[in-house]
């Protein structure tokens, strides 16, 4: 890719930034965090009104039919303000796989609602002690013409508000992906709070009815496809988180006077901040490259792994730098910078931290040689 945004992409980014920055303030994030469900419903409605939820969904379901790169720009804008909305869960984990792998009926049943902002979705990609969705902790057993699911998925983002959760599960014929109603029979949700203070409940399935996404024989490929996009989405949010964290640190150290001059005039501070900027740009180029390859239909798994590794490794360096340059303010939860630190850590560890990505990347590269 040439890394220059098209007019459409620039417009999508500007619109997303306008909505996120126009409505999300640290006070509002704090207020939403104090509610039971911790989801900013008004912001969600505003995103739907601007058709940002359907940005990369097919025009047939009311979407705009744009690509992953455009979606990444929206996720980046979310990361900049650490907005408490289930965008990654609904669009990346839920809607994209339904659009790609679902039957025509499934697409019609769920996607127009996603575009309108009425339907929330998620996917269960982690089990206890495992981040490998190709060996899911859930088992599907045939029951007449349908399936019933058994097992425990941990930390399913936004499962407490989702209308459907996509659950990869083992069947006698390999892994399949199933649609599950998290409020239906045979499902217990156990509320769990994660590093960034979001609610990612554990999903205990004990005979819950599951509807096959599309057809069973696509299962394994669908899971790999989902994981690539899930990782990409995390990287995109991390760009926004890191970009904003560096900007906050630059502003703070430029305004705070110590030893008779702004803190940022000290080389120890300036060099640190510049390092943070460099890492952030590295996350951006690796993420955009992966998005572009996925959009172009090229093999992109190693590009995605490079991006996620750097979003984890470089990303945590950036949020450490930003937190550090804020001194004691970083430890005070009344001041917003700590949220970037928590989000950066959460994104780093979601679906496997730096070493897990490196292990997979090494396997991909060495296996290909």
């Amino acid at each position: 890719m040439d890394f220059t945004l098209s007019e459409e992409q620039t417009a999508a980014r500007d619109l997303a930034e306008q909505i996120f920055q126009g409505s999300v303030t640290p006070e509002r994030v704090k207020a939403v965090e104090a509610t039971d469900e911790r989801v900013d419903r008004d912001l969600w409605a505003a995103l739907a009104d601007a058709n940002l939820l359907g940005l990369c969904l097919p025009e047939a379901v009311g979407g705009s039919g744009l690509g992953l790169l455009e979606l990444c720009l929206v996720l980046e804008a979310q990361g900049q303000v650490v907005a408490p909305v289930p965008l990654w869960a609904t669009v990346v984990l839920g809607a994209l796989p339904i659009a790609e792998w679902g039957s025509a009926e499934q697409r019609q049943a769920w996607l127009p609602g996603v575009v309108r902002g009425d339907v929330l979705l998620s996917a269960a990609l982690a089990g206890p002690g495992t981040n490998d969705p190709h060996r899911p902790p859930v088992e599907a057993r045939a029951d007449g013409s349908g399936w019933r699911l058994f097992g425990l998925s941990v930390a399913v983002p936004a499962a407490h508000v989702a209308d459907r959760v996509l659950v990869p599960a083992r069947t006698p014929d390999g892994v399949g992906v199933f649609l599950v109603d998290p409020r239906g029979p045979g499902v217990t949700l156990e509320r769990a709070i994660t590093t960034n203070r979001e609610i990612h409940p554990h999903l205990l399935l004990d005979g819950a009815p599951g509807e096959v996404l599309g057809s069973l024989d696509a299962g394994g490929r669908a899971v790999a496809w989902m994981v690539d996009r899930a990782l990409l989405g995390l990287c995109a949010m991390q760009i926004g988180v890191c970009e904003a964290a560096v900007r906050l640190a630059a502003d703070y150290t430029s305004n705070r006077v110590q030893f008779g001059k702004p803190l940022s005039a000290f080389q120890g501070v300036a060099l640190h901040a510049a390092d943070g900027y460099i890492q952030t740009e590295a996350i951006r180029v690796t993420t955009w490259q992966a998005a572009w390859r996925l959009d172009a239909g090229r093999e992109a798994t190693s590009d995605v792994l490079v991006a996620k590794w750097w979003a984890s490794e470089g990303g945590q360096r950036v949020v450490h730098i930003a937190q550090h340059l804020h001194g004691g303010m970083g430890a005070d939860v009344d001041y917003p910078v700590h949220r970037y630190f928590l989000w950066g850590k959460q994104i780093e560890d979601t679906l496997g931290g730096a070493s897990a990505q490196l292990a997979r990347l090494g396997q991909t590269l060495a296996g290909a040689a």
């Binding site: 590093t195 030893f259 450490h320 939860v333 560890d349």
Partner: protein, 413 residues
């Protein structure tokens, strides 16, 4: 478990170690790496938990005093045991192996007592040291201000003389346990027309005085032991100045060096705790985790030997010097890496927080608590400057704020 002797231990030290070990065995539960009271306590963040922590600290400190192990290197005149710093170190090595909690006295024992012994008047030492050793009076530190952090000497809390008293006005921040403390050590500006380091005075302030208002700050770890403290027309008797009026900066150096030595050194977590964590999560065969454990082991060793070298220097009569900055930097890095290691070991489960996480979020707190270690007592950058200038002798930066009258130095709005 037997008492672990150090290689170069004298007969006196060995005898004392046996004595300490015998008392601890008879009076306190041993700390276990697989299930620790200490971890549960750290992870408990409610106000009732805090009160229980204070009570437990007071009661332990009193028992330690009654057994003759409080203030081991503090002269007998002030309630101590009158022994050497080497024996004090032996005690610390032994006591961390047990579930003994004197955490809220860390400022009093680790910072206030050494400062008073070095700079206090005879009356001050007799009045203030014994109640700390007996576990009766809690202390806090009132140094940092919203506008004076790394540049502590840029503080603007003002003290003005009025007869036999000083009247203090200003705001302090990051004051551990200020809302629980009986007494505070306070820095305030008493002369605005001299360079900043020469116009500061060191006070002992009664935290129950009218006009002292601590307000707890909720921290990223979920606890609220920090405060911002507002001081409005607080009156302090003139005999509660430590050292000379306008000579407080020198006195503060003793406190700060002891604070640096204290930070991080207080954690009873050892290498074994990380191995146990890996074992519990079934990660001991994971090659990446094994490498990181090996690196952690190396860091623990480096810190241990650095500590021993500093103690050896202390034994031979050298004052605690800028070398404490080296230890503080190593501990900063150690603390950051250990936090990451713990969460990496926990894997996906490491993303849970608070009570949803393993051991009620103790390890998440270790991760988030790294900032207290890295920022408190002077940031990594401040420590590097100290090493550059005072240890390596590099030419100092041109610093007009050191020589011009404080009144004319640019400050935060």
């Amino acid at each position: 478990m037997t008492a672990v002797a150090e290689t170069s231990e004298t007969a006196e030290q060995a005898a004392f170690r046996d004595e300490a070990h015998a008392w601890l065995e008879g009076n306190a539960p041993r700390r276990r790496h697989d299930s620790s009271e200490f971890k549960r306590r750290v992870a408990a963040t409610g106000p009732e938990d805090e009160q229980a922590h204070v009570e437990a600290s007071k009661s332990w400190q009193r028992r330690i005093f009654d057994a003759g192990f409080a203030g081991i290197s503090v002269p007998r005149d002030y309630g101590g045991r009158g022994d050497t710093a080497a024996l004090e170190r032996v005690w610390r090595q032994e006591v961390v192996r047990y579930e003994i909690d004197t955490g809220v006295f860390s400022v009093a024992l680790g910072m206030v007592v050494p400062t008073l012994l070095a700079h206090g008047t005879e009356d001050q030492k007799r009045r203030f040291v014994p109640p700390v050793l007996r576990g009766e009076e809690l202390w806090c530190q009132l140094f940092s201000e919203p506008g004076a952090g790394s540049d502590l000497a840029g503080l603007t809390t003002r003290a003005e003389r009025d007869g036999d008293e000083w009247v203090v006005n200003g705001q302090k921040v990051w004051n551990s346990f200020a809302h629980l403390a009986d007494w505070g050590i306070l820095l305030a500006r008493t002369d605005w027309d001299v360079p900043k380091h020469r116009g500061i005075t060191y006070f002992l302030v009664d935290m129950h005085s009218p006009g002292v208002e601590p307000r707890p700050l909720r921290q990223i770890t979920g606890v609220a032991h920090f405060n911002e403290t507002f001081l409005t027309d607080v009156r302090i008797p003139a005999d509660q100045v430590v050292g000379a009026v306008n000579g407080g900066w020198g006195v503060a150096q003793t406190t700060l060096m002891n604070e640096r030595a204290l930070i991080g050194g207080a954690s009873p977590l050892g290498f074994r705790d990380y191995v146990e964590l890996a074992r519990h999560h079934g990660k001991t065969a994971d090659p990446d985790i094994r490498q990181r454990l090996a690196a952690a082991y190396t860091r623990f060793q480096i810190l241990r030997w650095l500590g021993q070298r500093a103690q050896a220097a202390a034994r031979s009569g050298q004052a605690l010097g800028p070398e404490s900055s080296v230890a503080k930097l190593v501990i900063s890095d150690h603390s950051a890496q250990n936090g990451d290691l713990a969460l990496a070991i926990e894997g996906a489960a490491g993303m849970l927080s608070g009570r949803d996480a393993f051991e009620s979020g103790f390890w998440q707190q270790q991760f988030l608590g790294q900032w207290g270690v890295r920022i408190g007592g002077g940031t990594e950058q401040v420590q590097r400057n100290i090493i550059g200038e005072r240890v390596l002798g590099l030419p100092p930066e041109r610093r007009p704020d050191k020589t011009e009258p404080f009144r004319s130095i640019p400050k935060n709005a």
